[in-house]
């Protein structure tokens, strides 16, 4: 057997074990339920708006609820991946895996792919719910649904890679979760701040204030490239706007982001080690 064959054995075995654990656990089903619940809520508000404003024609009424369901599923993926490595380190099981012919790349790829498998299971359950909704309400699907699902896989990949990187930094589950909340909160804050800056009217600001705002805005624009939320929101906007170029740009952006972050995770795990604390 060559190195690739060994890696493949390790990746397949870990995915199988983790998927079994997810499948028989509650997390995945709770996430799917929340996603469906959020989608129902959004759908209900949408219908009420339509009814309240006497709108007769709606394009793709299931799109908006789907976007929110994708956000919930992607968030679950990120949270789950942010504890994946630290949980194994905390329990000492990661160290045991490294006694055999298993390397850092195999472990990280396995955890990453398992996250995608879990995400797809959630999206399958969500799709079943949407099919049921479409049948009961007599509202049809548009091709946008398929586009969203395909793009969602790329977005989940960037969320998962980011979560795994956070997980490689820590040795305790609790620290991982806290770090995740802190950094994600920071990223969301940055996006909010950027949005706020854009709403400010230059005519109401002094020259020095405009200059400072310009610098802050540019810094924020750079920082937000490190945020997986950026790809999530931009991707959803691309689908909503029906812009193919923006859609492809986000897909490629997510892919590059995922590869870079996963490589960084391999080096971080090597640096931090796999021994039980």
């Amino acid at each position: 057997m060559n190195s690739l064959a060994y890696r493949w054995h390790a990746i397949r075995a870990i995915i199988k074990r983790e998927a079994r654990s997810s499948f028989f656990g509650l997390g995945l089903y709770i996430a799917a339920t929340i996603a469906c619940f959020v989608a129902s809520f959004i759908f209900n508000s949408y219908i009420n708006t339509v009814q309240g404003n006497n709108i007769m024609v709606m394009t793709s009424p299931l799109n908006n609820p789907l976007f929110y369901a994708v956000i919930v599923a992607a968030l679950y993926t990120a949270i789950s991946s942010s504890t994946a490595l630290s949980r194994e380190k905390d329990k000492g099981t990661l160290e045991i895996l490294f006694y055999g012919p298993v390397d850092y790349t195999s472990i990280i790829l396995a955890e990453f792919l398992e996250d995608l498998v879990s995400f797809l299971i959630i999206m399958t359950l969500v799709t079943l719910y949407f099919v049921y909704t479409a049948i009961t309400t007599n509202l049809g699907f548009s091709i946008t649904y398929l586009y969203t699902i395909i793009l969602a896989v790329f977005l989940a990949a960037s969320m998962s890679s980011f979560g795994l990187w956070l997980s490689s930094l820590t040795t305790r589950i609790r620290t991982s979760v806290l770090l995740f909340i802190l950094i994600m909160g920071g990223f969301l804050g940055i996006q909010f701040l950027e949005g706020y800056i854009l709403t400010l009217k230059p005519e109401n600001l002094s020259l020095s204030m405009i200059y400072i705002m310009g610098i802050v805005s540019n810094v924020l624009r750079i920082i937000k490239w490190a945020s997986p939320f950026n790809y999530l929101t931009n991707g959803i906007n691309a689908v909503a706007l029906g812009s193919t170029s923006l859609y492809l740009e986000n897909m490629i952006g997510s892919l590059i982001y995922t590869v870079v972050i996963l490589t960084l995770t391999v080096y971080t795990l090597k640096w931090k080690g796999v021994k039980k604390p």
């Binding site: 057997m1 190195s3 064959a5 060994y6 890696r7 054995h9 390790a10 397949r12 075995a13 870990i14 199988k16 074990r17 654990s21 329990k91 000492g92 099981t93 160290e95 045991i96 895996l97 490294f98 006694y99 055999g100 012919p101 298993v102 390397d103 080690g273 796999v274 021994k275 039980k276």
Partner: protein, 315 residues
């Protein structure tokens, strides 16, 4: 089989391992000893590539681990002090997972055969979380043997086990050694190491201070040997004459027996028997008092002796 060359490991300003040069020969059982915190586990982790050394080289099967990582790792089985099992899995599921992970063929047959060997086949469908410490240790052993490795690295394998568990694992280690496997075993249970090791290495404060057969270590440590005599009709004058023999250092009486301290350069028991016979004494028993591994270990570690330099270790 394992060779380390000028291996160092530092954590911030502390040198955990200093200039470690150890050599494990193929087919032997090598006992790796040292007090708590001496650096035994750190050394094992460096051998396995789990911890990176600050300086120096580790060669396994005469190769650098990273020159052929997967193939070399496949030839090594590791049993640690604590097994850290997936407690939500049954023994069979756990071993099956590791077979898949390592790419073991005929996994059902292999698992069945190994579980029978450790008398756990009947419990194969029990959750590992319900296993006792000894049973978990056996599962760790089975996991290490799944790939039929050439080298077994055991880090405190019998620690925390009851006497039955210790005996079962000892038999397993000896069986595997008879099958040709090289065993590198760290332990603080000195009697176990003494019983089964062909050679031992003693690590003290991160430095290898002795590496040899037990016999040679004892020889190097002792400048004199104690011989116990049970003699009748051995008068005071004969005792004085015995004490003045050139190879005798001292003679004391202890619980009705004579303890003669003689030089360690050769076995003087024949000379003593002849002397007692010529002086009219009746010898009932003569016994050489052996230095135990514990005595040797304590002498080396407490006095900071290095058997490589015959000097005290300078900190």
């Amino acid at each position: 089989m394992i060779r380390t060359e000028h291996l160092y490991k530092s954590y911030e300003n502390v040198e955990a391992i200093k200039d470690l040069n150890l050599f494990v020969e193929p087919g032997e059982i090598y006992g790796f000893l040292g007090p708590n915190g001496a650096g035994k586990t750190t050394t094992i982790m460096m051998i396995l590539g789990i911890i990176k050394s600050t300086r120096g080289k580790v060669l396994i099967f005469d190769k650098d681990l990273y020159s052929d990582y997967f193939r070399i790792k496949r030839k090594i089985g590791v049993v640690s002090e604590i097994q850290y099992l997936y407690e939500d899995m049954t023994a069979y599921e756990y071993l099956s997972f590791f077979c898949d992970l390592y790419g073991v063929k005929n996994k059902e047959k292999k698992i069945e055969e190994l579980l029978h060997r450790v008398n756990l086949y009947e419990r194969k469908d029990d959750l590992l979380g319900h296993y006792s410490r000894g049973m978990q240790q056996k599962i760790g052993f089975v996991r290490a043997l799944l790939m039929d490795p050439e080298l077994l690295i055991l880090d405190e394998p019998v620690s925390g086990l009851d006497p039955t568990g210790i005996r079962e694992l000892r038999d397993l280690i000896l069986e595997e050694n008879k099958l040709g496997k090289t065993i590198f075993m760290s332990s603080h249970i000195l009697s176990e190491v003494e019983r089964i090791s062909h050679r031992v290495g003693i690590l003290n404060k991160g430095r290898l201070v002795a590496e040899d057969t037990m016999e040679n270590i004892k020889k190097k440590l002792s400048s004199e040997v104690e011989i116990e005599l049970e003699v009748e009709d051995f008068d005071v004058e004969s005792q004085k004459k015995l004490e003045s023999l050139p190879f005798v250092n001292s003679l004391v009486r202890e619980d009705g027996k004579f303890i003669v301290r003689v030089k360690a350069d050769k076995d003087y028991r024949n000379e003593l028997v002849n002397f007692i016979a010529s002086s009219g004494g009746h010898l009932n028993e003569i016994r050489r008092r052996e230095m135990s591994l514990e005595d040797a270990f304590l002498t080396i570690t407490e006095k900071n002796i290095s058997l490589f330099s015959s000097e005290e270790v300078v900190e």
